[in-house]
Assembly symmetry: C3
Homo-oligomer: 355 residues x 3
């Protein structure tokens, strides 16, 4: 940071990137790449995502170099994607393999390719800066997509709001009592009076909330045979590209809420939050749960209720963002529950400054 301040003093620095670079971001789910190319804008860059015949995912700029039709309007072939206008064919590296009507392929006939990985059912794309166009690490694992104790489903939301408003929402689950009281929330005062602890370092924030001896919310009691009151927890881990949220409950007094191997009813959420543009976002979520009996049906019910809460959050966050535009530059009053979200914002700002 001191270097960048110094640079600031001696020369006009280059414009900062709008988002932290040199990061893997979630581009979608493995199951989305089938027989059609998929167009999706990430970090302001329109991409076409597809698989070649060897099963490997590819991510190219979504623009034919000839007359600019999105390649996502084209068709997939064994060797790559063929443009739907004049039929140019590109492989997964963006090299043009065929120009119909002529034998010679112009040397400029290629489209930019982005580093891409598939891991644990997630597709990740690397967005690097000029110094680090190729990845210097692998994308993170996400073990609950391949753990037999859990059943999971997932989906994607498009948000008309900047991605940090989604971070704010996920890092402060006190809103459950007001926004989601009929499903995963339950009584508001339980959340607002929970014991909260916030830990953080340069790239992570962890918010831990314990609600011992509390009444389980509707979704919990429908999913699990609790005997009465429960010891309930929320553990929220913020990473720059995604959040992991472990919520759950055990019969009161039966488990230590500090034991990472504890039993009880678990909801493990993966939340990949990827900017589409500065003002819009993709939100890729999965919910993994461990019902005791009647597992498929109960997991489906938990996911259904989770989707309800995500719909509610989307309504709130998009209305919030429209009002922030309406009242631009107006200060906000912080309260106690904002501490986790505020730390995440500082991390993003710092990573953005460094990239």
């Amino acid at each position: 940071m001191s270097t960048s301040t110094l640079a600031h003093e001696i020369a006009a620095p280059a414009a900062l990137p709008k988002f932290p670079l040199n990061q893997w971001y979630v581009a979608g789910f493995a199951w989305e790449l089938k027989d059609q190319p998929l167009g999706r804008t990430l970090l302001g860059k329109p991409l076409v995502l597809f698989r070649t015949a060897d099963g490997r995912p590819a991510a190219l700029e979504d623009r034919c170099c000839h007359r600019a039709l999105p390649l996502s309007h084209g068709t997939l072939e064994e060797r790559g994607v063929r443009c739907g206008y004049h039929g140019l064919l590109f492989n997964g590296d963006g090299q043009c393999l065929e120009v119909p009507g002529q034998a010679k392929i112009p040397s400029k006939a290629k489209v930019p390719a982005y580093p891409v990985r598939e891991r644990d059912q997630l597709i990740w794309v690397w967005f690097g800066n000029a110094d680090q166009p190729q990845p210097n690490c692998e994308p993170p694992a996400y073990e609950f997509h391949s753990n037999d104790d859990y059943l999971f489903e997932g989906g994607a939301y498009h948000y008309d709001a900047p991605y940090q408003l989604i971070h704010d929402n996920l890092l402060d689950l006190s809103h459950l009592g007001y926004v989601h009281l009929r499903t995963i929330g339950g009584n508001a005062s339980i959340h607002m009076n929970a014991q909260m602890r916030v830990d953080s370092d340069d790239t992570h924030v962890k918010v831990t909330r314990h609600m011992p001896g509390s009444q389980p919310p509707p979704t919990y009691t429908a999913a699990y045979p609790f005997k009465g009151k429960v010891d309930r927890w929320q553990e929220i881990e913020f990473h720059v590209s995604h959040l992991r949220i472990w919520t759950g409950a055990a019969d009161a007094g039966t488990e230590s809420l500090d034991d990472p191997q504890r039993g009880g009813f678990h909801m493990r959420g993966f939340h990949g939050v990827t900017p589409e543009t500065e003002t819009t976002s993709h939100y890729f979520w999965t919910m993994a749960t461990n019902p005791k009996d009647n597992r498929e049906a109960i997991a489906a019910k938990v996911v259904e209720q989770t989707v309800l809460t995500f719909d509610e959050d989307k309504g709130v966050i998009e209305a919030q963002y429209q009002n922030m535009l309406e009242f631009a530059d107006r200060p906000m009053v912080d309260i106690h529950v904002d501490v986790g979200a505020n730390r995440a914002r500082r991390i993003i700002e710092q990573l953005r400054q460094q990239s």
Copy 2:
């Protein structure tokens, strides 16, 4: 006006307000404030309107001071409105009464409140300038909302057009013969050849048109047992926040058209025209009428036909405004019937300059 010209010469004046200030404007109808907060933007300011448990109306800035969610997305409680995100509670004066999760309420936790009154079924909000933030008068009465001789109904339109185009339309009823010929209009030449008188002072315009010995239009004959030709009148009173329009007819030769107590068939329109923004408007109308027999049914029919004409006006005015944008800065040719509307525009401009 000379003072403001002088100020112009000696110093850059502060930007003028976009609308006349130090005025009561119509914010809605008494019956709109029930069990949900109501979000509505007036004069460019997003407001939330609601009643507290004592029945009093309140108008706050529609933005929670914590994270900017519109308070109109919240819920009403006995003491005020509770934000639908993190649950802050505000009373009708904009004071925060509760911050869930903490005992202390930050001193900055409040939202601006606007002076508001309920009178004769109308909700009025005061928009003052820095010198006159609190009202120096009460909003006007409107007696026909509580007069047993009349039955009335009302409603609201949203216009994609600046509010002065609605004034223009209401101040020149000669358009009835072209826009509304099938309902309240009737033969066009009756209107265009009517005797017209325009009186005005610094804050009002009155346009009076008499059409003696004319054929009653369809809406009139359906509502009232006229014997044949009628003496018909239109009295339009422009005030900066609203218009009162008294139209009607009596059997030809039976009443003096200058007698304020005259009989016959009456349509008394209240037209609250409140800017939403510089380019959009709210139009709050009621129509009170005095049918002779079968009163409820005939009043309902008159209102139904009135709504038809308002729909037609909205179509015309919004198309007019779009075309004014399309042909920006092009001069308009004035004709005889424009005199009332032009005086109203001068009054608005003068009040704007003074506020």
Copy 3:
């Protein structure tokens, strides 16, 4: 061009027009002018098109000079168009004939008129510059709208794309093999390997493609009793305001593809491409065909399949344009098939510079 370069050196030249002027452009079809005025924006100018009682078409600026309502919201009378707000009446020359409510017609009460012609079922409007406001020629004939050997139908598309992208599309029919393979296209390699010849002068481009001994595409075989392989042709004539495209086929070896009187199955397309604005377009098309037997039914089928291909083209071109905006200022790689389209772009640019 050298003159204009010189002017550039000695004085700031006036802004160039956005489109070539001193040209007839297609404004619509004869059958569109019936009992309602028709509002349509051409070359950025909103026009109202209508016929007066003598059957002559008229084109006025679509704005009443009084209060700016589009005249296309009015009604037609024997002498002209009457404004739908206050009833001013204008004739086909834009002169005001009546101002309701007053005897005197203000001298400024008129609206600009544009030169207009009806020829071979097409309505043409002249757009001149200051030196040539009146036409110096007649609009072109189009003989296939009155040739008994052909049956034709037509229609109009609105495009959210600049008009030159439609030229590009029509001048390079190699896209038939990728965009329209199920109808008029057929096997892609036939198109891409066709013999292509491009001729041009200062105002025209002609692209001729011959595909001798090829398999006829689905639309052709459904319409005409070909015996097997065909000699197929495409002749595309670009003019600044429209294209004429003659495609067809004859049984292989039976006709000279250079004979203008040759037989076989013909599809003769008229394509009037008129800018609406710099970024949107009108596309007026007709398709004339010469089926052998069962003429009405087969012609209808050919038109139906033609409409399918136009729908496909519209999807491609609008997606292309959105992507060109997304990737503004990015270079495009030319390939062999672009030569005709590129010459047309040079003609348009040259005519624009001269007007």
